[in-house]
């Protein structure tokens, strides 16, 4: 299950890279695993997008999916 992980803004600063490959069954598992690896994420608010759509509940992941971690937006 190779998932492409994209990060932005402050999250990239914590993780140290903006693009990587990870393994996870679903979005909750991925989030838990990332927080374990990067405790700095715990205090951050962020949304998760799977294949460019923001999800609001745990979502199953399959090979080739792109998951993005989105800190609060500040465009405009």
């Amino acid at each position: 299950m190779a998932i492409k992980l994209l990060t932005f803004g402050q999250i990239t600063e914590i993780i140290g890279q903006s693009e990587s490959t990870v393994n996870a069954m679903d979005s909750d598992a991925l989030k838990a695993q990332l927080i374990m690896q990067f405790p700095g994420l715990k205090d951050l608010q962020f949304a998760i997008a799977v294949n460019k759509y923001v999800i609001n509940e745990n979502t199953g992941l399959k090979d080739g999916d792109t998951v993005a971690l989105l800190p609060p937006f500040s465009g405009g």
């Binding site: 994209l6 932005f8 803004g9 402050q10 997008a49 460019k52 993005a68 989105l70 800190p71 609060p72 937006f73 500040s74 465009g75 405009g76």
Partner: protein, 153 residues
């Protein structure tokens, strides 16, 4: 693929120049059913945060998702309001204090549509576009901006 072609380019590198805004307005003189233009410009403020002044904002985005979101906002605005024209430009990269990073431009036959659509588009962008602004201070540090927005639609 055909879907992709309809996506209009929103992102520009660096600030949006006032001359470009003027040129965009001039292009509409041939569209003589337009009675009203509404324009919103977002300008970078030199806010003082903890005693340090903001020199610039460095914008980055999740480009692929943002372009789709801008397209969706555009389609929704055309659906909700009777518009003749609509243009959205957003900066990426560094925009100095006093420079412009967002340009929303709506045109309609009667003024209400252009004005309401412009406000609607600005709120949707602030709330939903995956764009981030890193405020760079005069002492070299930075903070990540966070938008305030009203819930739209």
């Amino acid at each position: 693929m055909i879907e992709e072609k309809k996506v209009k380019k929103v992102f520009v590198n660096g600030p949006i120049s006032p001359v470009f805004v003027g040129e965009s307005i001039a292009k509409h003189s041939t569209k003589q059913d337009i009675g009203a233009h509404s324009i919103f410009l977002g300008q970078v403020r030199n806010d003082i945060i903890d005693g340090n002044a903001v020199l610039a904002i460095d914008y980055s985005a999740y480009n692929e998702m943002a372009e789709e979101k801008f397209h969706e906002i555009r389609e929704d605005a055309f659906q909700k309001y009777s518009l003749t024209c609509m243009h959205i430009y957003h900066s990426l990269g560094r925009v100095e204090a006093g420079e412009i990073g967002l340009f929303v431009f709506t045109s309609s036959i009667h003024r209400e549509d252009a004005m309401e659509a412009c406000a609607y588009i600005v709120e949707r962008i602030k709330e939903q576009a995956p764009v981030w602004g890193r405020e760079v201070f005069d002492d070299g540090r930075h903070v990540w901006k966070q938008n305030n927005f009203k819930e739209t639609q």
